[in-house]
């Protein structure tokens, strides 16, 4: 299919469908009930997960959203960016195709307009399952508009007042602003605005080397921008370990991203029709020319303009809404979930916390927030994923750790795919086979970390893991191989693995 056909063939309806699903034009809010069991403020991943849980409990629900159903994740964040990442990866693969004995005529190149069309189509498709229509069909009253608490048990939405037994604040977070001189005046892109245009910036300067900055830097560089990424710290992805961050640094450089570590942005100015980012690194001043500047320095909770004071809900500008271990705010009838109150701002945590908040709001017995075992992944190439403890965190708690590493270059599945950069590192409590955490750097680390999530949630230790069959060849076989390395070290005199229930059931089924 030609690029032109992709464009013309992309139904102009994609965008219409999308809007119809996430925020229909000419929407009329329903007439509120006298009182709702649950009013949810914010229809992002947390709000939607809460609504789903509340539907199961048979509650009367009002869901209030000021912008689009799906929140940042669907509309501005994870989903759109990952669609671009896919195009960037494909392009890089095509440029590399000759290594696989595959030739293609002409030069592989990206058309950002077409990429954006695909992004909108995908966004629309994903929006369908959580569309306004479906929410309404579940009996949820959906209100669009700015919401403000007008009292301890009342929410004002436009001219309407929603009374509630319980409320859940799930307003999420937004890109953090900066006080660096010049930014507000000259203007900059954030994850909230980067997907507006169809043109690739010629020269893009990215401020912030966290997951978002790194994903965007690599992807836009692959798609054709000249990207410089400026990071205030000694490494990218400060939350991840050295060996992972160093691989990422090299992969960014490989794709033509100019990387500036240990570099602080001190100002932005316009001069000679260009934008200049002024930086300082180890006392040395420098300036970076750019057509566009992207700011990705973290997220700040959406707590303003919500009338939280009127509802007696305590909050702080940076930390967000204060919640207790049950996700209850200082108003016993109001709970919070997701980015607006949690330090770990991830879609999966937002959803899990929302389900817990709803359960706690209505159950006789409240459950505490667990120490979330959070698999997370940065979608660079290779992807960088982590779950559980880092070695440093364990050592700070005086836990001795032995890490078992398998390099992807030693995994048949990765060798065959030609995607053999990276590693699987499983952190094990010394003197036992208990898995404390794991880091995966691999092309599909986002999937592999989920296997480790299941393993850890299932309390499967290295001893059992070594015996769990994996399909062959597969990149995820690296996880088993790490356990095999553990077993090799701990001798052949391992006690037999306990008979698993699944195996018993399978044996019973055969007889």
């Amino acid at each position: 299919m030609s690029l032109e056909r992709v464009k013309t063939g992309a139904a102009a309806g994609d965008q219409d469908n999308y809007l119809r699903r996430v925020h229909p034009a000419g929407w009329h809010n329903p007439t509120p009930r006298a009182q709702y069991d649950l009013v949810i403020v914010g229809a992002g991943p947390a709000g939607l997960a809460a609504a789903e849980a509340a539907v199961r409990l048979g509650l009367s629900i009002a869901l209030v959203e000021r912008a689009c159903i799906g929140g940042n994740s669907l509309n501005l964040g994870s989903v759109p960016l990952k669609v671009l990442v896919r195009s960037g990866n494909l392009l890089a693969g095509m440029r590399d195709a000759v290594r696989y004995g595959v030739a293609h005529t002409g030069t592989a190149q990206a058309d950002l307009g077409a990429v954006m069309l695909r992004m909108r189509r995908i966004r629309s498709r994903i929006a369908e399952v959580q569309s306004v229509e479906r929410l309404r069909a579940c009996g949820i009253d959906v209100f669009f508009g700015e919401a403000r608490f007008a009292g301890k048990n009342r929410l004002q939405c436009g001219t309407q007042q929603l009374k509630f037994r319980k409320a859940l604040v799930a307003t999420g977070a937004r890109p953090k602003a900066t006080t660096i001189p010049g930014f507000e005046r000259i203007g900059y892109l954030t994850s909230a605005t980067i997907f507006d245009g169809d043109a690739l910036p010629g020269r893009l300067a990215i401020v912030g080397g966290g997951p978002l900055g790194c994903e965007l830097a690599q992807t836009l560089a692959r798609l054709g921008s000249q990207v410089t990424i400026v990071q205030n710290e000694p490494k990218f992805l400060p939350l991840e370990e050295r060996d992972a961050a160093e691989i990422l640094s090299r992969s960014l450089a490989r794709d033509g991203v100019v990387t500036r570590l240990n570099t602080t942005v001190v100002g932005v100015r316009e001069c000679g029709g260009r934008r200049w980012l002024d930086t300082v690194s180890n006392g040395a001043k420098n300036s970076i020319a750019a057509d566009a500047i992207f700011l990705g320095i973290g997220r700040t909770p959406n707590v303003e303009e919500l009338g939280l004071e009127a509802a007696l809900v305590d909050y702080a500008a940076h930390e967000g809404i204060k919640v207790d271990e049950h996700l209850r705010t200082t108003n016993p009838h109001i709970y919070a979930a997701g980015d607006v109150c949690l330090r770990h701002k991830f879609t999966n945590v937002a959803q899990a916390s929302a389900r817990l908040a709803v359960a706690n709001a209505f159950a006789a017995k409240r459950r505490r927030q667990p120490h979330w075992l959070i698999p997370r992944c940065t979608h660079c190439d290779p992807q960088i994923a982590h779950i559980g403890m880092h070695v440093r965190q364990a050592r700070q708690r005086a836990i001795a750790v032995h890490s078992f590493t398998i390099m992807m270059q030693d995994v048949d599945g990765a060798i065959i795919d030609g995607t053999d950069v990276g590693f699987v590192k499983i952190h094990v409590r010394a003197g036992s086979d208990e898995i404390l955490g794991a880091t995966v750097v691999a092309t599909r680390a986002s999937d592999m970390i989920n296997e480790l999530s299941v393993i850890m949630h299932g309390n499967i230790g290295m001893r059992r893991l070594a015996d769990i069959l994996h399909s062959y060849p597969a990149q995820s076989d690296a996880i088993r191989l790490a356990a095999v390395a553990w077993r090799a070290l701990h001798g052949s005199a391992v006690p037999p693995a306990p008979v698993r229930r699944a195996a018993k059931a399978a044996a019973a089924a055969r007889t």
């Binding site: 710290e233 000694p234 490494k235 370990e241 050295r242 060996d243 160093e246 691989i247 090299r250 490989r254 240990n262 300082v280 180890n282 006392g283 040395a284 070695v391 440093r392 050592r395 700070q396 001795a400 750790v401 032995h402 890490s403 078992f404 590493t405 390099m407 270059q409 030693d410 060798i415 053999d420 950069v421 590693f423 590192k425 010394a430 390395a485 553990w486 090799a488 070290l489």
Partner: protein, 440 residues
């Protein structure tokens, strides 16, 4: 000069002892060839207009000791060379001025060979100062005679060591800063994971005047990872030199800090593991580089081709120029350091000899005038010889001289075992056992 028959071009026809002696002496020649006799400074590399690297001076001071023992320098000559250098540093400008030689008892990484002042707006370097001071302390231990030059060496080294203000270099944090610049203050890249800096913390801990608290070494080692990698247990660090620099002076056999006690290993054994991993990686050779094998390995920091892509055997390769290479995590562009296998002699003599012999038999071009070039990349076939680094680096040559001597006689290790600051610093950093428990 020995006669030509005793000095064949091909060193590999010599027996092990003779070959090693040749290589050691060839490496030592660097320090007499690239020295400024006026101030004792030694050039960083053999290239024209190379500035002095203070770390190379530290290696030189240790190598003079070796040369006396080997009969390549007279004791008087070596003492005078040493005295020139320590006297230079003692008298050098030590202030916060941008063109000084040092500040707070530390020194700039690179100095002008003649004026001895800072060049390139480089940083006041903690690790390089530590290597310099280690060399000075080694000389002070060796030159124990009553003669005036030797007594003066000991006095000056004593004062130079006392002058370094390690507490200042902590910049109010747990670990040490990596460096400082008059233009922007402290550089702090964060300490994450093991590297060559053990000797830095040991010297800081042993200071009689500004000793680092034991918590400082602990604040670094908390970031260590005990890892099982390619079937070996290791405290990993990629570049091979990081497993050798502190070890050139410190005999880690049998002494352990808290981390190694917990891991039931020691830093000597750990270097053996690093060697095994280098060999295993080279045997597996995942990137298909030319030459690599169980007997041809040695990925470390050093000169390299690049940064542009260079054509190699029909494949595009990305090369990195001067950088810190490491395996198995990378980066690895097919460049090995030809000298580094021989520098592992005291840890695994068999592997070191086999590797060095196989390298020299296959690629004799890596040795020029009995000196190893810094980097070599046989995968790059633009030139028939593969890519070869221009000239030699003082760090490589110094490490090689010292390590060969540690293998032959243990001279440096023995001297440093008797060095009070080293013993104090090791104990303060939590090391115990072995020779450290013997009464000095």
């Amino acid at each position: 000069m020995p006669d030509a028959a005793a000095m064949p071009d091909d060193v590999t026809i010599l027996d092990d002892a003779a070959m090693i002696e040749r290589l050691q002496r060839g490496a030592f020649a660097y320090f007499t060839s690239y020295a400024n006799p006026e101030n004792g400074l030694i050039a960083d590399t053999s290239r024209v207009d190379s500035p002095c690297s203070i770390a190379v001076v530290g290696f030189a001071l240790s190598c003079y000791v070796v040369a006396v023992r080997r009969g390549w320098l007279s004791r008087e000559d070596a003492a005078l060379r040493t005295l020139k250098a320590v006297d230079f540093f003692w008298r050098s400008a030590n202030s916060d001025r941008a063109d000084a030689t040092g500040y707070k008892g530390f020194y700039y990484h690179f100095l002008d060979m003649h004026s001895g002042r800072r060049v390139w707006q480089c940083e006041l370097s903690l690790i390089d100062t530590a290597l310099l001071l280690a060399g000075m302390l080694c000389a002070a231990c060796f030159f124990d005679a009553d003669s005036e030059p030797e007594a003066q060496i000991r006095r000056l080294v004593h004062d130079l060591y006392r002058r370094a203000d390690w507490r200042w270099a902590q910049n109010d944090s747990g670990t040490l800063a990596q460096g400082w610049k008059p233009e922007g203050g402290f550089l702090h890249y964060g300490w994450e994971g093991y590297n060559e800096a053990t000797i830095l913390y040991v010297l800081g801990g042993g200071s009689p005047t500004h000793a680092l608290p034991p918590s400082s070494f602990a604040a670094w080692t908390i970031t260590y990872q005990w890892e099982n990698l390619l079937g070996r247990n290791i405290l990993y660090s990629g570049p091979l030199f990081t497993h050798l620099f502190s070890h050139a002076w410190l005999d880690f056999r049998g002494i352990r800090d808290e981390f190694m006690r917990e891991a039931a290993s020691d830093y000597f054994e750990n270097t053996r593991s690093a060697i095994a991993i280098q060999r295993e990686y080279a045997a597996r050779n995942p990137r298909g580089f030319a030459g690599y094998g169980a007997d041809l390995w040695g990925v470390t920091a050093g000169d390299g081709p690049g940064p542009d892509e260079m054509q190699s055997s029909g494949r595009d390769r990305r090369c990195f120029g001067y950088m810190s290479r490491g395996v198995p995590y990378g980066p690895d562009d097919g460049t090995i350091a030809p000298w580094v296998m021989a520098a592992t002699l005291p840890f695994d003599a068999d592997s070191a000899l086999r590797g060095t012999r196989s390298l020299l038999a296959r690629y004799p071009q890596v040795l020029r005038d009995d000196q190893f070039t810094s980097g070599f990349n046989p995968s790059l076939t633009e030139q028939a010889t593969g890519w070869l680094s221009e000239g030699c680096y003082g760090l490589d040559q110094g490490l090689l001289v010292m390590m060969i001597e540690n293998q032959r006689t243990g001279l440096i290790w023995q001297l440093m075992r008797g060095c009070a600051p080293i013993r104090r610093g090791l104990r303060r950093s939590g090391f115990a056992g072995g020779w450290l428990d013997d009464v000095a």
